[in-house]
Symmetry: C2
Subunit: 128 residues, 2 copies
């Protein structure tokens, strides 16, 4: 497999409080986003925090998706990293943002596996 | 919990081929790096790929660590993302790089949970 990959780092703000605390919804959203993008899921872990918040990861054959949610701040940090060029991680990130009712998404793309690291295509979408 | 976090993105090159394929060594290295940094481990998943390579994630109370290894290229992509300011993700990334015998590490720091995304402190260490 080639080392080249694309890593989308997304900051989701003004999300729905209850959705950020809904482990089942988040797990289903991530699985759906991965499969919809054409990824092959290998491992899934999501962990609820007390008193609130969810963290988790989906390991795909093409790298990973992760989330850390902060319901009290309406915030979720989301990463979608895919290797190869058959999958579009931006679409998966946008699908996740919409499922969590994010009002604003800041995102950047970081090519991986090339050498020195550079940010590409910084984007702010508000409203989504 | 505050949203502020620090995400280290690290590209490890010229690593030891066999170590990049050693699931047990990688899992132990990641657990050790997380605990040594003062993180609290919540979930651990590592997945071997056929014919080679390992992907995995450690979910910590303070966010996550991930790896995707490409033994055939001597390359591993590593992320260490920690919330709060009690943990130094750079130390954990460097510990992982050394455990995999990386000769070169490109890394950047991305503050998370603030708003727009910016890269900080791009660094190339060679040799480590």
């Amino acid at each position: 497999m080639e080392t080249l990959g694309y890593h989308i780092i997304a900051e989701l703000w003004d999300c729905d409080h209850d959705k950020l605390n809904d482990l089942q919804l988040i797990e289903e959203t991530f699985a759906h986003a991965a499969l919809n993008a054409g990824a092959e899921i290998r491992e899934v872990i999501f962990h609820p925090f007390d008193p609130q918040g969810v963290s988790g990861a989906v390991i795909i054959a093409e790298s990973h998706l992760t989330i850390h949610s902060f319901p009290e701040h309406g915030y979720a940090s989301v990463d979608v990293y895919t290797c190869g060029d058959s999958i579009n991680p931006k679409d998966a990130a946008l699908m996740i943002a919409k499922a969590l009712d994010a009002k604003t998404m800041h995102s950047v793309e970081i090519p991986r596996g090339l050498g020195e690291l550079k940010m590409k295509n910084p984007t702010t979408k508000s409203p989504l």
